[in-house]
């Protein structure tokens, strides 16, 4: 019998029932909730007279709509100026209270972006199934947890039944072998992967990220990689358990303790793909070849190395590609063959569930230290992923580094990742952003997003245009 993949193991460990029609009932261990996709689900429960199946499986926090300035946040929910946003956040509070679901409210120090909060609390554990009404739930796969986003009807289904109707996906392995160069981060790795396989490359697959370069990443880095599995079309991204996983989880709030910890660790050690496990597809990348990445277009697969240039539609392989590039360049206001380092920026956003963890802030602060944000940059903001990340950064003095350099130091939330609160791009503005989506209008109507790592974003803020963070100080002196 061939070995099992990590995904196969997780699937079979949660299979409640297989149905004749090819669907299966999968048991859900952890359900994360936020204010945008849950209200109708709660209302559905109420209308049907149902109760949540298992309260302790759920954990909620508002993140998408919360304002990020200190002044607004000081007022709690009352600081949310948009009445529609306010109602959504209040509704989450009310629903959690009336159903008895634990929630980290707006000014709870544990509040933050759901995908930062879950792992940070140890609420995401290896071997779990984790779902949330949000496509970036793939993040939690960094812990060898089977995690993916769901829709509002499914949110209700999980609340009511602790199960999900699912169909098994195919297995893909993406191996990144070798050592990453200095200044090349997890974000560059995942952007390079998406650049290689394309935004639909992972459709229908659960992707397991493997290889020595992946094993060499911290948990923060692994979360960054799994977070963007969805941008490669895969609802699920996974990384096997190793010492790094276990060390991260020890003493986290919801992590087991004592004898149970020992038993859990023994169990988690099996959460790896067996030798000889068969994948439907395998893709291999050489870590040494990966440069710091910058997205130039309106889809996450439209990326180039920092030493590269914007493509020329005239050189595209076919008509579809040509039209795609032409339309993207038009929207982005870029010229064919323009050097990536010649792209000038208006705003810089360091944050989002992709890159707002402590390690991300450290990397950005390291670059920013002792420099000033360029005068041409209208706004450079740092938005920590959670209240606890913020607190730790402040203990380490990172906030001072950012503030001294001219960055705004904000309160935790999704912020300019999707511009559902007041943090937005203006039409035509170019933004170096550590988030995950560069779709048209994603960060504000007409806004132009360039996806980069935190270090690259910080360097760009100081230079006013993209620079190779690997030679950053030299570049700053030239400027």
């Amino acid at each position: 019998m061939p070995g099992q993949t990590l995904y196969d193991k997780l699937w079979s460990q949660h299979l409640v029932k297989e149905r004749d029609d090819g669907t299966a009932l999968i048991y859900i261990d952890r359900h994360l909730l936020h204010e945008v996709t849950s209200p109708q689900a709660f209302e559905g429960l109420r209308l049907a007279g149902r109760r949540p199946w298992r309260l302790d499986a759920n954990l909620a926090t508002p993140d998408h709509n919360v304002p990020t300035t200190l002044l607004e946040r000081a007022e709690g929910n009352a600081g949310i100026k948009d009445p529609v946003s306010l109602i959504q956040v209040q509704t989450l509070d009310d629903n959690c209270e009336s159903f008895g679901i634990e929630e980290f409210r707006i000014n709870d120090p544990r509040q933050g972006i759901v995908h930062v909060v879950g792992p940070e609390q140890g609420a995401t554990l290896p071997g779990m199934t984790v779902v949330c009404g949000d496509s970036h739930t793939a993040t939690h796969g960094a812990f060898a947890a089977l995690s993916h986003g769901i829709g509002t009807s499914e949110v209700e289904h999980v609340l009511a039944t602790q199960c999900l109707l699912a169909q098994k996906m195919k297995n893909m392995q993406v191996r990144v072998e070798g050592e990453l160069g200095e200044g090349v981060t997890a974000k560059d790795v995942v952007l390079a992967i998406i650049g290689r396989i394309g935004t639909a490359g992972g459709t229908g697959y659960a992707i397991e990220f493997a290889g020595s370069a992946i094993r060499g990443l911290s948990m923060e880095g692994r979360m960054t990689v799994c977070n963007m599995a969805i941008e490669a079309g895969a609802r699920v991204g996974l990384i096997a358990v190793d010492d790094t996983t276990i060390d991260y989880l020890r003493d986290r709030h919801y992590a087991p303790r004592g004898e149970q910890w020992e038993a859990a660790v023994a169990d988690w050690r099996n959460l790896v793909s067996d030798d000889g496990a068969e994948f439907d597809k395998v893709v291999t990348l050489d870590a040494a070849e990966i440069e710091p990445q910058v997205s130039w277009g309106t889809s996450p697969e439209m990326v180039a190395g920092i030493g590269g240039e914007v493509p020329d539609p005239a050189e595209a392989d076919d008509d579809t590609a040509r039209t795609g590039i032409t339309r993207a360049l038009e929207y982005m206001g870029l010229a064919p063959k323009q050097k990536i380092t010649d792209i000038r920026l208006d705003k810089v956003f360091i944050g989002s569930c992709t890159n707002s963890r402590i390690e991300d802030l450290r990397a950005a602060a390291k670059v920013a230290k002792g420099h000033k944000v360029a005068d041409s940059i209208a706004l450079a903001m740092v938005v920590p992923g959670s209240g606890l990340v913020k607190r730790q950064a402040e203990e380490e003095g990172l906030d001072r580094v950012f503030i001294d350099a001219g960055f705004e130091w904000r309160e935790p939330g999704c912020s300019m990742c999707l511009a559902m609160n007041a943090d937005k791009l203006g039409a035509g503005e170019h933004c170096a952003s550590t988030s995950n989506r560069n779709f048209e209008g994603r960060q504000g109507y007409g806004g132009r997003t360039h996806l980069v790592s935190p270090a690259m974003a910080a360097a760009a803020a100081i230079a006013g245009h993209f620079v190779d963070v690997r030679h950053f100080d030299a570049a700053a002196q030239e400027a």
Partner: protein, 214 residues
Amino acid sequence: MQKFERLEGLVAPLDRANVDTDLIIPKQFLKSIKRSGFGVNLFDELRYLDEGQPGQDCSQRPINSDFVLNQPRYQGASILLARQNFGCGSSREHAPWALDDFGFRVVIAPSFADIFYNNAFKNGILLIRLSEAEVDRLFEEVAANEGYRLDVDLEAQRVITPSGELLEFEVDAFRKHCLLEGLDDIGITLKDEDAIHAFEQRHRAERPWMFREA
């Protein structure tokens, strides 16, 4: 989900093909956090003379008295008679939510858009496909007879006209079963309640650390 077995109700005619989901419920109302309350904005652009905003008091808005649903003779209708490709456009579940909230439990048309068809059944609304000729004739009869009512019998899969004529319709067995029993996906999953409990017990015994409450 609400059950549907049999309904005897007043019929309102909407004589227009390709009624899309934007027409059924315009996009500005999707900001709502609710699944209910969309009834006042059903067919908003047809019903009122101004542009509707979420949260507005619709009783103060100028009414388009030409629109069929605003005519006194159709007040209290629970069966909507429509034309082909009803419900085309987006996947918004707000469309069936709005129809239901307004009071429609049945829509009769020659054809429906796919996604809308699914969404409606999920929300306890029965969609009935009749032939073009049958639908044409129903439009004529509704127009000619004030207070025109139909008797819809799902179990027997037929619509009974005031003159006693029987119009038979097709509906797939699974959807029919769900409607008759008032079952939604959740209801069906809950039929496996015992299997879920058994799984949960085993899971808890094997991996107690996954459960925050011991």
